[in-house]
């Protein structure tokens, strides 16, 4: 039981990454490919955030920060903030990539009137 | 106080369960929406009330702020959830879903 819990997150991220990769490679529809790309991105984010989690740790916001600066902040008591920072920006950038990818899909649909990969290739 | 919180939470979970059963078992779209819209709103109100009581164990400014914010969530759910239900029902009606009838022959428009 302990071993399952200790590596469950990593298994799930591998599974999600496989799902996303499969969708990007095998699906014929461009929007489906974009969804696969989003799933791939979230898989990576799951991995990063999982490395930052600590047992019996609270969120990385120091409690009662308004008053005087406390001397000792226990490191083991707060989750690792660094992956959170990296992944926060990654999510916002993923919106940007999503917008650009969907815009490219719209452009392709405007020109070839299809979102299917093989139909577009026939018209090329 | 804890007992009140537990009772309220259990009631809310029962309502959530009823919502889910309704969502799964009702025969057509409109009746399912009926279950989802009403049950969800009520049960979220009850469980938020329970959480307010639980977090309000001692009276000071920070706890008051938390309680206010949780109640604000309840207010927004009360505004947003029925409107969302209305929008979905309207969209379903516009797109021509027929209401369910026990005998499809004697159904009137």
């Amino acid at each position: 039981m302990q071993s399952i819990i200790s590596s469950y997150n990593y298994w799930i991220y591998i599974l999600l990454m496989m799902i996303g990769l499969y969708a990007m490679l095998a699906k014929n529809n461009l929007v489906k490919k974009v969804i696969g790309m989003s799933i791939f991105q979230t898989a990576i984010i799951v991995f990063y955030v999982s490395t930052g989690a600590k047992e019996h740790a609270t969120i990385p916001i120091i409690a009662h920060g308004h008053g005087a600066v406390e001397a000792a902040v226990d490191v083991a008591h707060y989750a690792n903030p660094l992956p959170h920072v990296l992944m926060l920006t990654a999510i916002v950038v993923s919106v940007g990539t999503l917008g650009v990818a969907l815009a490219i899909c719209l452009g392709i649909h405007r020109r070839y009137n299809s979102l299917e990969e093989d139909e577009i290739q026939e018209q090329l | 106080m804890d007992i009140v919180v537990i009772v309220l939470t259990v009631i809310a979970l029962l309502f959530f369960f009823a919502t889910t059963v309704g969502l799964l078992r009702f025969p057509d779209f409109y009746s399912r929406m009926h279950a989802a819209g009403k049950g969800d709103t009520l049960s979220s109100l009850v469980i938020l009330l329970a959480l307010v009581l639980y977090n309000f164990h001692e009276i000071n400014l920070a706890n008051l702020l938390v309680a206010m914010k949780i109640l604000l969530i309840a207010v927004f759910i009360f505004m947003a959830s029925p409107t969302a239900t209305h929008a979905i029902i309207d969209a379903g009606y516009e797109s021509g879903i027929k209401p369910w009838a026990k005998n499809p022959e004697e159904e009137s428009p």
């Binding site: - | 369960f17 914010k69 759910i77 959830s81 969209a91």
Partner: protein
Amino acid sequence: MDSFFIGTGVALCLLMLLTLHRAIHGPTAIDRIMGVNVIGTKTTILLVIIGTIYHRVDMFIDIALAYALLNFIVTIAASRYFQQHKNLNPKGYGYRFPAEDD
């Protein structure tokens, strides 16, 4: 009391699983929207419960508030889609592609 709230959270997750059945197998797309709407409400509740378990509700409440405000947008957007397209038929999507090779 913490274990009680954890139990509540797990129960809500189970109910979410049942709702997800409607969201995935819903006969029409509009049933799926309904399921996702219900899941969104449950998410709001569960966020507050997780905050209670962490004993830092004041930090988690903003996320729940954001969900309570924004969950609405998805539903409205989807329903606007149907109001403009008026086409729920699971077979033969769209007017220009009447019953192709599906």
